[in-house]
Amino acid sequence: MTTQEQTTPTTAARPQAGRGRSPQRLVVAAVAVVVALVLPLLVPGWLGLLVIAGIFFLIVLGLNLLMGYAGQVSLGQTLFMAIGGYGAGLLTLRWHWPTLVAMIVMAVVSAAVAAGLGTVFLRLRGYYLALATLGLAVITESLASGLTGFTGGPSGLVGVPSLRLGTFDVFSDQANYYLLLVVCGLGAWFVGNLQRSQTGRALSAIAADPAAATMLGINAARYKTSAFVVSAVYASLGGSLYAFYLRFISPEVVGVTVALSIVIMLALGGARTIVGPLLGALVIQGLPEVGQSFASWSPFVAGVVLIVVITYLPRGIWGAIKKAVQR
């Protein structure tokens, strides 16, 4: 995705860095942390939804780095979700690996796959990269349902164990919620720091004008591939956590529709921010929960909302809120 701000990366990044240290922002952050901590006590019935939204927040955060900052559309993040989910599931279910080790190993595998694919794929531009990654999404779904002996076919992989931290089983909704709070917090912290760093500016420069960025001495290919690798690690961790939480993974979870909805979450919430992906994940995952009769309406509503947001709110829901507040 091209940047919404066509200003030079340095001027775009500087005010952000300044605001990051303002006391006002610290207060807002502190309130957000407190709310997040007590939320399970306030809305216990919504914990399952919050866990799933948290997992997708993590995945969308990773895509944000690639799509929001580096301006490269990937419609194939489900490939890495599948590697993380099926990989961790199989390693723990069939070969009885420790869950945490399986999750980390699959994240490393995802990084390696992304590095390999990235060097080849990221030479393609715009639509063509979108097409190639969409091809990856199709391949992922087909492999998940086609390799029956390995993945359990269309009915999926059943009986995946819960994540074990030391002697503690992360089994309940509440335990999963707090785990995701920590993981997403770390993930958001990393992306936030990166955004304000030299690397973040280099990525913005590549998104704004790849030719100019190259002339500034930025190795565009290396930065784009790195962003792809990091986004793959986020998606892989998300996939593993999904499998461990639901103790199940199926082709539907890593389907093309999910691949598209990850991109929808980012565009809807607002790219190039931390809150945007969170809002996007909450809206898209939360829509079917609004009501029983509304569940069948939610795909239609999500589509219409995306059209309206892209057309009239170029920076997503969060961008529009920020603009309204600043005014």
Partner: protein, 292 residues
């Protein structure tokens, strides 16, 4: 041997549908630089609408084509005015892809609301007759699909190469700014392109539904197949869209004979991705701006 030919015939029929979708994608792209991922969604919408019309009115299946095709030409013009034009005026081409993703999602949602999650099919246009040539059984509906493709390509060729409207379309496709300066109403040309793409989607949907089962979830496979066929053939190229669609259908058909249907999909995609990397402009494309 005849089994292999049977597979090729089936693959070509599927490919014919992909080619019709890709033609619509390609035409809209050449005029507006918008990749309409929702094109495959309109195909399924047209197909299910044809089934319902056939049941309500009790008309022969072939008659639904005459009703649905003009209806979709009109519908797509409305979509262009209500959705595409306002979005394109504000969003960059890359973000337009997301608008069409949203449109695809909305169509899938609409199908789920109106037709539920059950698969639908329709009676073949010319009954359950089949032609047998040398032990190869060709379902008559396949001939309707290929016929629809041939008629569409011929009509498009005539329109673009032999009429003055076609000339203005070619001018708009090669340089919209210069065309506008020449007094061409570019907005109107875009409306016509979308309208034609709508008619093509309806033609694809109504001719394929008697040969298969479609439901709300089939919008994504059709959208993906049409998109891939259009790009693999070379965006903006009519012959490319046809070749891309037929090759994609053939690959899927051939591979599904020797492996499972799912793995056939994998190999077909892999071949097309490799093709894209080796020959990034597509089979017949001339675009030079594919790689950075």
């Amino acid at each position: 041997m005849s089994g292999l030919i049977q597979v090729i015939v089936g693959g070509l029929a599927d490919g014919g549908v992909y080619a019709l979708i890709a033609l619509g994608v390609s035409l809209v792209y050449s005029i507006s630089r918008i990749i309409n991922l929702a094109q495959g969604g309109f195909v399924v919408l047209a197909a299910l609408l044809a089934v319902s019309i056939q049941q309500w009115l009790g008309v022969p299946p072939l008659v639904t084509v005459v009703i649905v095709v003009p209806l979709f030409a009109l519908l797509m013009a409305v979509v262009e005015r209500l959705v595409m034009a306002p979005a394109a005026a504000r969003a960059t081409p890359d973000r337009m892809l997301l608008v069409t993703v949203g449109l695809l999602q909305a169509i899938g949602g609409l199908l789920l609301l109106v037709w539920g999650n059950l698969p639908y099919t329709m009676q073949p246009f010319s009954g359950d007759t089949a032609i047998t040539i040398g032990g190869v059984r060709i379902v008559s509906q396949y001939l309707w699909i290929i016929g629809a493709l041939v008629v569409t390509v011929a009509a498009l060729w005539f329109l673009v190469q032999r009429t003055s409207l076609g000339l203005t379309m070619r001018a708009t496709a090669s340089n919209p700014e210069a065309a506008a300066l020449q007094g061409i109403n570019v907005g109107r040309i875009r409306l016509i392109a979308f309208s034609l793409a709508g008619a093509m989607a309806a033609l694809a949907g109504t001719t394929v539904i008697p040969a298969t089962f479609l439901q709300f979830s089939t919008v994504t496979p059709y959208a993906v197949a049409g998109f891939i066929a259009a790009v693999a053939g070379g965006l903006g190229s009519t012959a490319g869209a046809v070749v891309g669609g037929l090759v994609l259908g053939l690959l899927q058909g051939l591979f599904s004979r020797y492996t499972s249907g799912d793995l056939a999909q994998v190999i077909a995609m892999a071949v097309l991705i490799v093709l894209l990397l080796v020959r990034p402009t597509g089979l017949l494309g001339k675009t030079s701006e594919v790689r950075r």
